[in-house]
């Protein structure tokens, strides 16, 4: 038996032992490949209509209501049928921020700028799902407060 052959086998064994010890954190979790995982339940969309706070000033506000079946395409924009400047008086919905009427050169347009047209690129609904990982985000106010307290 030549040396190369033996080394290959040894290496292969090492790798397989290592793989077996480390549990692979895939989407399917710990369940073996021969079994099917139970999918998590579909979370419920929050529909409270109550504004949520923002974690930082530039954060796009989250949507506090359901948007099932809202059509946003070339033909129509269901979001803007309440949130556009012309519609807010009747709908009493908050108007989309004025920045959405600006093009990239800072010129104000009559309508929502095409680059801001697809609301869901930034604004999303929230569900009652539990976070998969802990969130360590700290508000700027908390950081400043810590700073002051430390001094």
């Amino acid at each position: 038996m030549n040396l190369r052959y033996t080394t290959t086998i040894l290496l292969f064994m090492l790798v397989s032992v290592a793989a077996a010890e480390r549990s692979i954190d895939a989407m399917r979790g710990d369940s073996p490949i021969s079994e099917e995982t139970a999918p998590p339940r579909m979370p419920q969309e929050e529909n409270t209509d109550i504004k949520r706070g923002r974690n930082y000033p530039m954060q796009p506000p989250t949507i506090p209501h359901k948007i099932d079946g809202y059509q946003v395409d070339l033909n129509s924009n269901k979001c803007l049928s309440c949130h556009s400047r012309r519609r807010t008086e009747e709908s009493q919905a908050p108007m989309v921020s004025v920045t959405h009427y600006m093009d990239r050169d800072g010129n104000f347009l009559a309508e929502v700028s095409p680059r801001r047209y697809f609301c869901n690129q930034c604004h999303v609904t929230q569900t009652n799902a539990r976070p998969l990982v802990e969130n360590t985000f700290q508000d700027i106010d908390e950081i400043l407060k810590k700073r002051v307290n430390a001094q």
């Binding site: 529909n47 409270t48 209509d49 209501h65 359901k66 099932d68 079946g69 059509q71 070339l74 033909n75 129509s76 269901k78 049928s81 519609r87 009747e90 009493q92 919905a93």
Partner: protein
Amino acid sequence: MKRWLLDWWRTLSTPSKYFSPGFLTVGGFIAGVIFWGAFNTALEATNTEVFCISCHEMHNNVYQELKPTIHYTNRSGVRATCPDCHVPHEWTDKIARKMQASKEVWGWVFGTINTREKFLDKRIELAKREWLRLKTNDSLECRNCHDFQFMDFTRQSPRAERDHATILASGEKTCIDCHKGIAHKLPDMADVKGW
């Protein structure tokens, strides 16, 4: 023409030569029942979703759009089929709508919307016709199921509650004014009021 009409009148106004009055009345009654039954069966057959989507125009366009909406699939499994929303339930109105629909047969024969492109080009016209119909009859087909009297506002979202309790309750607006495009995709809404 006049002679022909007069001949017919004479035939109809002279007493029957061979048939007894009993045969004529009872036979006429039975024939009437059969005719009416057949007519109604045929009418109801055209009032099913299976009939509607037997044409590819309906099956490939509007039916596919209906499928992901809440009027097709939902938690309780109650669903609306095409005629529930597009054909009045009252008999006289239904017959009126069916007569209008004969124009749709014409459109089917001559392929007015037999391609996706033709359908999309015509969608605004078709949609406006349905919106106008629902606006005129105060969203009757919606109200066949969604009865305002039995709406529990406390189970609605605050936005829905506010609008239903004010502008819907006062009759200022009707269902279709706000709920456009809930079962099918919308055409270009640029010149539609409220969009």
